[in-house]
Point group: C2
Chain length 439, copies 2
């Protein structure tokens, strides 16, 4: 096959055959296609798009570009969740042990944060001693023993995705629905997932800021996951404001533990985080056949929170992955920022906006996030909200507390936060957390 002809074909708007897509992925990973030719093909794809069938072929070819896991010998449905990324999104930390406590097997491979959105690996590594670089054998043994393991993508898992993603990020071809879909699904299928719940975020803090783009991605993910043999649900959820109250790695771990432990998180504002986690986990149980319907699934999930079994599973995971399990009882043992600063509302009113993107960018200024892959993070840095959108606040009350070290750009963080926060005199209309579902 001649790759130039496949560039021409896609440029002209034609669909590539499954065989052509398999060939190009294999040839690229084998180094037989130059980056500059692949870059031209990627931009032609960004231009002309990919069909469901092309995306399914791409997903399949990428999946088998490296090692794949098969956990068929471990009893229980193999489930995973993926979110398209947001601010304060610590759902995975709660959901993974919770699903395991409900009878699922959760082989979760996660990524790091970049830009204003956070990454699960960064949050986990805020736990003193916690290791995410598990060997395949350790990952498997842990799944067998406690039903949940959370690790980093290794070099040999879906190398096609790592190489293509790197090239996409340098050629303005990240934002194509088919390419995003294949990147997400190939990793999930390679790690042995059978049941997948997807959380497509929309709003200022999301990758898909417009609802119509989120729709398109949700439909594509659902179709291609189904064509690829996964049982799959997709939720489109709000990311106009941060999820929960904490933004920042150790702060988010603490909030996750509070939700798992059914503790009052202090600000009574983690309801959206709890609701979304319960909904996503209930979807898993229904799709897996572990619950007959959504109502029964929710009951099972809530029971696993109430009886402490989800928290015990979390503690077991932390211990198994080298982390200090005492943080579960005393979140004060997590890394702490040296300094804090309270921001007052400045006027009486209802919170109209808590712009997730600007709050995420404030997090970067405080040291909780990064704009380059190699920037070190301050695990204790970040912020806690004291109110959420639609809640009333008094002039002198604190709406956010910033946590930071000496290296933080406090002025920038405060400027971003002041721009992110706005009040109105009357209670604004409620925004739905879960906007739509597929199917």
């Amino acid at each position: 096959m001649v790759f130039l002809e496949l560039i021409e074909k896609k440029k002209g708007g034609a669909a590539l055959s499954a065989e052509e897509i398999r060939w190009l992925v294999d040839a690229y990973v084998a180094g037989e296609i130059a980056d500059f030719q692949m870059a031209a093909w990627l931009m032609a794809v960004r231009w002309q798009g990919l069909s469901d069938e092309e995306t399914t072929a791409l997903t399949g070819a990428m999946t088998v570009s490296g090692i794949t896991f098969d956990f068929a010998d471990i009893s229980g449905p193999k489930v995973d969740k993926h979110s398209t990324g947001g601010v304060g999104d610590k759902v995975s930390l709660i959901l993974a042990p919770l699903a395991a406590a409900c009878g699922c097997v959760v082989p979760m491979v996660s990524g790091r944060g970049l830009g204003h959105t956070g990454g699960t690996l960064d949050k986990l590594e805020a736990i003193p001693g916690f290791r995410t670089d598990l060997t395949a054998a350790a990952f498997r043994a842990q799944l067998t023993d406690i039903g949940v393991a959370m690790g980093a993508q290794t070099e040999d898992l879906v190398p096609a995705d790592r190489r293509l993603y790197e090239l996409r990020s340098l050629t303005a071809t990240v934002d194509e629905t088919g390419l995003i879909t294949a990147s997400i699904l190939s990793k999930k299928i390679a790690e042995g997932t059978e049941v997948l719940v997807l959380d497509v975020k929309t709003g200022s803090g999301a990758f898909m800021q417009r609802l119509e783009d989120a729709h398109r991605l949700a439909d594509r993910l659902h179709s291609v996951a189904t064509l690829s043999g996964l049982r799959c649900s997709v939720l489109i959820t709000d990311m106009e404001q941060p999820l929960g109250m904490a933004v920042g790695n150790a702060l988010e771990v603490a909030e996750s533990i509070d939700v798992l432990a059914r503790r009052d998180p202090g600000f009574a504002g983690s309801a959206d985080l709890e609701t979304l986690t319960i909904e996503l986990t209930a979807e898993m149980l229904t799709l897996s056949g572990l619950a007959p319907d959504t109502r029964a699934a929710r009951d099972t999930v809530v029971a696993a929170l109430d009886d402490g079994s989800a928290l015990r599973r979390f503690t077991a995971m932390v211990e198994r992955q080298g982390g200090d399990p005492r943080i579960v009882d005393d979140t004060g043992l997590l890394p702490q920022a040296a300094q804090s600063l309270d921001l007052a509302a400045g006027a009486d009113g209802y919170v109209a906006h808590l712009d997730a993107r600007l709050i995420g960018e404030a997090g970067i200024a405080l040291g909780a996030g990064r704009t380059r892959r190699d920037t070190p993070l301050d695990p204790g840095a970040g912020l806690r909200l004291h109110v959420k959108r639609g809640q009333p606040i008094a002039r002198d009350a604190t709406w956010a507390t910033l946590y930071h070290g000496p290296g933080a750009d406090l002025e920038r963080a405060v400027t971003k936060l002041e721009a992110a926060f706005s009040l109105v005199p009357d209670k604004p209309e409620e925004v739905h957390l879960i906007k739509e579902r597929r199917p």
Copy 2:
């Protein structure tokens, strides 16, 4: 400047500023932009197009990416012609000495053939001893002495075009009007041209097969040439059938000499070649101010053919560039093919089609053309037509004679030619050689 942002900008359909375009050309030539990023930008350009202003900025930036010639000290208008390429198009060989004989200075830099279209350099090099690798000093001296020099593009002339063209040819981004325009015009401006006549071919043997594409390119070339300070005319001309009677390097040199010498080329079919050459040269004289109007310009051009001054200029150029001048009086001294084969019409009728592309492809099979840059040519190989479209022919008459060596793929050539040739019982409607003009 961050090139990724310029890819995003073009991808989104926005126009780049002249400053941004100058920066990207300079940075690419300096090796500061990776090929894979430039490839993505080129495909984004292929998608979203370039405006006249962007194309003018690109032309300007490419022009000054290497050395530029200034022939202001040589008296007479500096003129050149460019054709978008075709089959049997040997106009340059006649036009360059003819324009010089009429008082123009012709610093012509030409290219090689690739695919079914021929290249002027290959034709010139069919003349025994002829050298196209002139030094800048030799090129200038020859222009001063005889007003015409025909050479190859040197490494240091418009290096941005050489690098970009190579990348475009490997990334399916050749066929974009703005990129084509900048590639053509930057070389002409860098070689010191003031007056430019462009021949945009349309039809089966042309790069722009559809008239609407030829229109778009002609308009763009005319606008950008004018914005770049050139005096410019564009003719859109027929390339549905080959130009003239000969296809193949030495055969085309012989036909050119026949036209220059006003000899009967034997088949009385080179009328289209002669007409087009006279028209293009007359445009040069009018644009240059050497003739008050087209009618007077044509008279001057025809006189330079009739009085032998154009042929003498050709002979002087051959001699000056190391070629054997005896070929002018005896074209039998040009390379000859070992074997020949006549193809009979097979039926009585009028010639309905002589498909230029298929005839060009037959030329490749015979050894007269190449599909890869490094393939050696057989200078004597090719074919001569005995009829042109619209002419009558008898069943037993020869419509084409093939010339070839032992390495030719004769079967393939004959198959192509049989597909290229068709007859109708009644005289078909005449097709106009010159379809349109700009301005």
